[in-house]
Symmetry: C2
Subunit: 339 residues, 2 copies
């Protein structure tokens, strides 16, 4: 008996086959780095073992049928023998109950309201479920990574946008419309910064990489000098990656230092709001920006959070994600156990 978890993003499809082997109680040291290649097999802690893995490029310009073909191929390469269920973590809003992709922000030809779980199920004849991609990553961290031992946690994923997921009383929070976990759209400064898209004054307006870049560009137009955009262009890019932000930050570029400080402040305040409202015992910070900036960023977020808690004596631990690139596929495989 095994399950398959699939992380379906705009650039790659990652499939893993997971089973309970009874061996390996602990996650291997430096698992995050091992995982980033995508072809890890072996123990992942808590008696689970990855027994198959496959990664391929997403045919991003294709329609739902061709993308379902690719997902089915990835599952078959990971190994579908004895597999009881497949869960797909999808980068966009999904209706979990109906197995429908509501919208596919990264897949221009995908369309809306696609019964994607059914499309994949027709190809592999195994029950298939859909989840939001950040939700599966948070579920993975909860069960095998940085959230182990917690029953009430928030995961905050710092990337192009700010994603999130909540585990409450041990279970993934989905909500009546399947929309729960949009931590990035919590307002932390009303009448505050306007992001390129989304909610004014939100965590994402201050901490999403796309919004941070747009702020830097606005400031640059007003004559505020920044090496952030110069480094970006020197690397031949039109998007400031986490690496670009980190390089400009290390050089002490004042615009970047200010933007990163605001981002940390917004994430810390958002975490505090959730802890005050929900009473949580763990905060897990993941995503490309957090991975690149590392423990010092985590520590600064934690400090801001603590200074905004109503019960600082019960402050939750703030920790970095540990499962690297495999968090989503692992979490998806774990959630597939119930199918």
């Amino acid at each position: 008996m095994a399950t398959i978890g699939i992380d379906l993003g705009g650039t790659k499809i990652q499939a893993i086959r997971l089973q309970k082997s009874g061996t390996g109680r602990r996650l291997p040291a430096r698992f995050g780095e091992l995982a980033d290649g995508g072809d890890y097999t072996g123990p992942v802690g808590s008696g689970y073992e990855v027994t198959g893995t496959f990664r391929l490029a997403t045919p991003a310009s294709a329609g739902p049928g061709e993308i379902a073909d690719a997902v089915a191929a990835a599952a078959k390469e990971a190994g579908v023998d004895d597999v009881t269920g497949v869960t797909i973590g999808f980068a966009g809003p999904v209706d979990h109950g109906r197995g429908v992709v509501v919208r596919a922000p990264n897949l221009p030809a995908f369309g809306e309201s696609v019964s994607f779980a059914r499309l994949v199920q027709e190809r592999i004849s195994i029950p298939v479920a859909l989840e939001n991609d950040v939700n599966v990553a948070v579920a993975g961290e909860h069960r095998l990574g940085a959230g182990k031992g917690s029953r009430d946690l928030v995961g905050i994923w710092m990337g192009t946008g700010i994603g999130g997921g909540l585990i409450l009383d041990g279970s993934l929070r989905r909500g009546p419309h399947g929309l729960a976990g949009e931590i990035g759209h919590m307002v932390v400064r009303f009448r505050g910064r306007r992001p390129p898209a989304g909610v004014r004054g939100s965590v994402e307006a201050y901490a999403g990489r796309a919004s941070m870049q747009s702020t830097a560009e606005r400031w640059a137009k007003r004559g505020r000098n920044t090496s952030l955009l110069r480094i970006m262009k020197a690397r031949g890019r039109d998007r400031a990656t986490s690496g670009v932000f980190h390089r400009a930050y290390e050089k002490g570029d004042s615009v970047t230092v200010k933007l990163v400080g605001e981002a940390e402040f917004a994430v810390g305040v958002g975490a505090a709001s959730l802890v005050n409202a929900l009473d949580l015992d763990r905060v897990v910070i993941g995503g490309g920006v957090a991975d690149r900036f590392g423990d010092e960023m985590i520590a600064r977020v934690a400090s801001v959070m603590r200074s905004h808690l109503i019960a600082p004596d019960d402050a939750p631990d703030v920790v970095g994600a540990r499962l690297g690139d495999l968090a989503g596929a692992l979490g998806a495989a774990l959630l597939a156990e119930g199918l």
Copy 2:
């Protein structure tokens, strides 16, 4: 078979005896007004009936023993025959699991970490549980009042402070430390207003009556003229009640209009943050300020909320509380069913 719910506040103790009678599917019209006297008996909807009630003044300067005597007396007056459990909604942080009052902000001689459930149970020989007072009120509204039909709601109580409670997947959210529901301490404007106590830039800093009064006093010291404080003094009070705020607002006092507008904005933004993070289908607004300002305040809060939602098509209904002064005791009685 019946249960007793007790609302233990700084000024009064309200006990009600509740039982399933099978009659009365709907809450009586204008129940909130009927309830405010505190001595209502009769149907309360969903087949429940109040079969006994008692209200007395809290001996606020007494210690835990004497207050337990008063609570036990109130329960006995409401009628303890065939009662299977008693839940006490307490105005302050409680450890539900251990039946302990952590702190009693309104009862100066009460002390900390008091095993208050046990003290009452010794006096009436019926299982006794403790809950936070806003949590029981939200549970009451959920089952019998403005939250009926919802499984995922937040209650926001606008009074001296801003209290709150969450129903998630049909159950009261308590959290690992029993501290969940502190909606008032969510940050809606980081580096924003400092309240007399609590978290900077929080909902309560803008919308709690005590913080609003302190802001008005600060502005008055700087020479900003306001009839709010004049009306308060003319009524011989040193605290601006909801009635004082409402009178000054109706007279068009610019300071009061600004403060109330900010309060509505902060509550609306806080509600939006919770809806974005948790995906809720109902927002219930209660408390003395909301009761006094009525439906127009609810509508303004709803409008602010909607303008900060990431999925406005799925916006929850925003409704006023319906159970008036009996919400807490009713919710406590309902929660006592499991004892």
